[in-house]
Amino acid sequence: MDGPTSATTVSVQREDFDLGAEARHLTESSTDIGALVSFTGLVRGSAETVRAMELEHYPGMTERALETIAAEARSRWPLDGVRIIHRIGRLEPGDQIVLVLTASRHRQAAFEAGEFIMDYLKTRAPFWKREETAEGAHWVDARETDETAANRWDG
C-alpha cells in the first residue's frame, strides 16, 4: 500500500464538487507527485439555447465503467492517483458536470491519462443528456468526434 494517493476514487452524485478540495485531497499525502492535471466539464448554454439539462445514468454499471476506465489509464501511465466525479440530475448553464483528476510524477503522463479518461468516459460510461431548449426537451445525440477521439488511443 502506498497510502490514499495511490487510490482510484469514483463518484456519481447529484451534489456539486469542489475542484480545490479534491485536488488537495489527492496530493496532500505524498511529496512524490510532481504533476496534477484536472479536467472540469461545464454545462454550456443560455436562456436562448440550452436552458438546462437532465443527466440520466445506469446505476451500478456507471461506477463499474468509470472504475474500468481508471484502471485502464493506470495500466497505461504511471499514475499516483485518479479521481473521477460525474454529476447526475438537473444541471444549468455554468454548472459543473464532470471532474477528472490525474496525479503523476510526470506531467505528460498526467495530461495524457486525463485526456484518455475523458475520451473513454464520453464513449463508454452510461450517461445520457437531455437538453431543455425554448423548443422543448430532446435527448442529445452522440458525436462522431467523440468516437474518433476515443479511437486514437487504440493499438
Binding site: E56, H86, K122, A125, A142
Partner: protein, 82 residues
Amino acid sequence: MRILYFAWMKERIGTGAEEIDARDTATAHELVALLRARSEAHALAFEDLSAIRVAIDQEMATFDSPITGASEIAFFPPVTGG
C-alpha cells in the same frame, strides 16, 4: 431475465425495466427479436439497431454477444455523458 431501458429507449417503450423469460435466446440479437414482438412500442423502439447499444450484465457488448446465463440486459442509445 431482467431487461433495462435508458434515455429515449425508456421513453419509447414506456418502462425502464421488465422481466422476460428468454431461456431459448442465445444472443442479444435473438433477444431483440423476442422484445420486438411484445408491443408496437417495442417494435418502434428497436427499429434501428445501429442507434442502439447493448450491455450484458453491466458490460458493453454487441448484438452478437451470447446472453446465456446473463441476468441483466440493458438497451440504450449511444452514451452522451462527460
